[in-house]
């Protein structure tokens, strides 16, 4: 059964955020991999193809937005949904958002409970969408 746990990639340059999010999600039965910058995240995403990506916006080397744009451009991750964490009051450029699969934005400081709820909601949508297509 362990192999069937949905894999989620969590990206943030602040490790304490990684720990908080990972703990919450792994307690809820998800498999978590983490990366500390966009470049590392892209490599991991292409290698492991997680069911979704949760990423911070402002990170060194490659921002969360650049990561999401790159994810959409790669065939393997072109439909992987993303959840973006941003500093409160930070708005994302709308035209750039269209080039990504960002399905939700959560402001920091966030409620871990809310992240879990959003992940569950997004994945259930994904699931129904997938099964809908295969029928």
């Amino acid at each position: 059964m362990d192999n069937e746990k949905p894999l989620i990639l969590v990206v943030d340059d602040e490790t304490h955020i990684l720990h908080v999010v990972s703990l919450k999600l792994s307690n809820a039965g998800y498999e978590i991999i983490t990366a500390e910058d966009g470049e590392e995240a892209l490599e991991l995403a292409l290698k492991h193809q997680p069911v979704m990506v949760i990423t911070d916006y402002q990170m060194p080397f490659m921002t969360g937005l650049e990561l999401c744009i790159a994810l959409k451009q790669h065939e393997k991750t072109s439909s992987t949904p993303a959840l973006m964490l941003t500093a409160r009051g930070f708005s994302l450029p709308g035209d750039a958002l269209k080039k990504t699969n960002i399905a939700g934005v959560i402001s920091k400081p966030f409620s871990p409970r809310e992240i879990l709820a959003r992940v569950q909601e997004m994945l259930s949508h994904q699931f129904t969408k997938d099964t809908g297509e295969s029928l």
Binding site: H19, V20, L23, K24, P109, F110, S111, P112
Partner: protein, 561 residues
């Protein structure tokens, strides 16, 4: 087995280390107080042969003290048979369990074993052929003495390091959990502070806050019972707000809340009650086993009590829960305090406005209730025109006070029977400007001034005081002007009967584009006028007919105004 999980963990190796030892082909042995030994998985036939031999066990029993003190060093039990005790955490255990090993050690076999008398005797004892046995031993896997000592030391380090990693991982998990709780709290407080908008119905904030809190804490239900003995609570008095499942017994919770409020609302320090039966509150044991409660105080008197029952995940209520609850309670008390102040201020403001309006109407008694009706129609028109609710409310207030300037017009002129001279009429025409001057220094009424100043302007520019035309006339002026003219034509005056409603509407349609903003007029004629006629009836019941009625009608359509 009266041993808790943590004690068992103490005596076993971290899984990582166990895997590594297996890779190194090192067998782990549990050693008991009596010298008996149990090889853990991966042991060889030779190892088992040695470990289970009574002679070896007896030897180990004799050397127990040395073994206990030899962590990280190899102790030679027999020639070429080494036991290297691994450092296990020595926590004092309240209860010794005899199934638990006394020591955990690595078993290392050395080259000296081959030539030892002990191996020979072991073979004899087990009726094995010594030479055949020796032939089966893989000599290359045997250590020399120095190697065994080094290996023992390294295994000791490895064990210590693994344990340290384990400890830190646990610590990290605990801290992440605490951090997660702090995040939850921070985000809750942020949400609460952004939803603390006094202009909304106060129940809205209070129930949002309860719901949010119930979910963050994972409580089965959370309720807020407000007291019914504080007059200042106004509409909130005695209110019960519940966050929880739909089928919850509201009547029972309300009764419980009231009793808690009477008997247990003593301090703002939150209280966790592990066993609700100790509180002796009727009905409480039926809705919760554990209870969290905190009183909301104002000026030393309880305003209400916040109380929640049972964690959904079956855990116990914790200090984190009570801390969060106490943050929420102080937040709520600030909010309720603000609500009380806001409502006080608002009712004082509206009371003052009505007093002002009544005093205008009293002075000019034949237009009794005029201001209120103009305010009503202005509001209906503003609403129908799709204005923002806040603006609609301001239009209403502007309507109420649009004639405030009449205070500055001599009563002799206002109430003069018969026709007015040009001079007298000019005095009446001053009232918009007088009104705007009265209001100009009240900061909170600045937005109302255009409604007062320009309600006699006309769309074609033939109005007063500034002869503005079209959209130059501020919206408030155009809205109130229309409502004002409508009321002047529709209501009974003591000197004449009201025009028939149809006539009034036709008149407004006729004057759309000359006197009135055509767009507003179009919307106006389609309004529902029921509230207006109800108000007229109410006003007529209150006013007595006045003898010697004046014949002035300054507002008469198409008149000099």
């Amino acid at each position: 087995m009266n041993v808790s999980a943590s004690q068992i963990v103490d005596m076993t190796l971290p899984p990582r280390l166990r895997d590594r030892l297996r890779t190194l082909c090192v067998t782990v042995v549990h050693i008991h107080e009596d010298g008996s030994m149990q090889p853990q998985d991966g042991s060889t036939w030779l190892e088992r042969l040695i470990l289970f031999s009574p002679a070896c066990v007896a030897n180990v029993r004799r050397k127990m003290d040395t073994l206990r003190q030899s962590t990280g060093r190899a102790v030679e039990i027999w020639p070429g048979v080494y036991l290297a005790p691994l450092p296990v955490k020595s926590r004092r255990r309240p209860m010794r369990d005899h199934d638990q090993p006394e020591l955990v050690a690595a078993l290392l076999l050395g080259q000296e074993l081959i030539d030892s008398d002990q191996l020979r005797q072991l073979c004899d004892h087990n009726q094995l052929d010594f030479l055949a046995t020796v032939a089966q031993i893989d000599k290359s896997s045997l250590y020399n003495h120095t190697e065994a000592m080094r290996m023992a030391e390294m295994l000791g380090w490895m064990q210590e390091d693994s344990r340290e990693i384990c400890r830190r991982t646990n610590e990290l998990q605990t801290m992440s959990r605490q951090l997660s709780d702090s995040y939850e709290e921070l985000s809750l407080l942020y949400k609460l502070s952004t939803t603390m908008i006094v202009a909304q119905p106060p129940e809205h904030y209070l129930s949002e806050a309860c719901r949010e809190m119930q979910q963050v804490l994972g409580l089965r239900w959370l309720a807020l019972q407000l007291t019914d003995v504080e007059a200042s609570l106004n509409k909130l008095s005695g209110k019960l707000i519940i966050a929880g499942p739909d089928d919850i017994d509201e009547t029972r919770l309300g009764a419980v809340g009231m009793q808690l409020l009477l008997e247990h609302a003593t301090s703002t320090v939150p209280r966790v009650v592990d066993d609700v039966t100790t509180l002796h509150v009727r009905g409480l044991p039926q809705v919760a086993h554990e209870l969290l409660m905190v009183t909301i105080m104002r000026e030393g008197r309880p305003l209400g009590i916040l109380f929640g029952g049972d964690k959904l995940d079956g855990t116990h209520l914790s200090s984190v829960d009570s801390k969060l609850c106490s943050s929420l309670a102080s937040n709520m008390s600030i909010f309720i305090e603000n609500t009380i102040l806001y409502e006080d201020m608002h009712s004082m403001f509206m009371g003052t406005l009505h007093a002002l309006t009544n005093s205008i109407d009293a002075k000019d008694s034949y237009t009794h209730g005029h201001s209120e009706r103009v305010a009503l129609m202005s509001r209906l028109l503003a609403q129908a025109a799709g204005l923002d609710p806040h603006v609609v409310e301001r239009v209403y207030i502007a309507g109420l006070i649009h004639d405030v300037g009449k205070i500055g017009v001599p009563e002799a002129v206002l109430c003069k029977p018969g026709h007015l001279t040009q001079e007298e009429f000019d005095m009446i025409k001053l009232h918009p400007e007088i009104g705007s001057k009265i209001l100009q220094d009240i900061r909170q009424m600045q937005d109302l001034v255009p409604g007062v100043l320009y309600h006699h302007e006309r769309w074609d520019g033939r109005g007063y005081p500034h002869n503005l035309r079209g959209k130059e006339i501020p919206l408030f002026g155009r809205v109130i002007g229309l409502a004002d003219a409508f009321d002047a034509m529709s209501s009974n005056r003591t000197y004449r009967q009201a025009l028939d409603h149809k006539q009034v509407i036709n008149e407004i349609k006729r004057c759309a584009g000359s006197q009135f903003d055509p767009e507003l007029a179009q919307i106006f004629v389609n309004l529902d006028f029921t509230p207006f006629y109800e108000l007229i009836q109410k006003h007529q019941r209150r006013v007595l007919p006045i003898a010697n009625m004046p014949t002035i009608d300054a507002y008469k359509l198409g008149g000099k105004a």
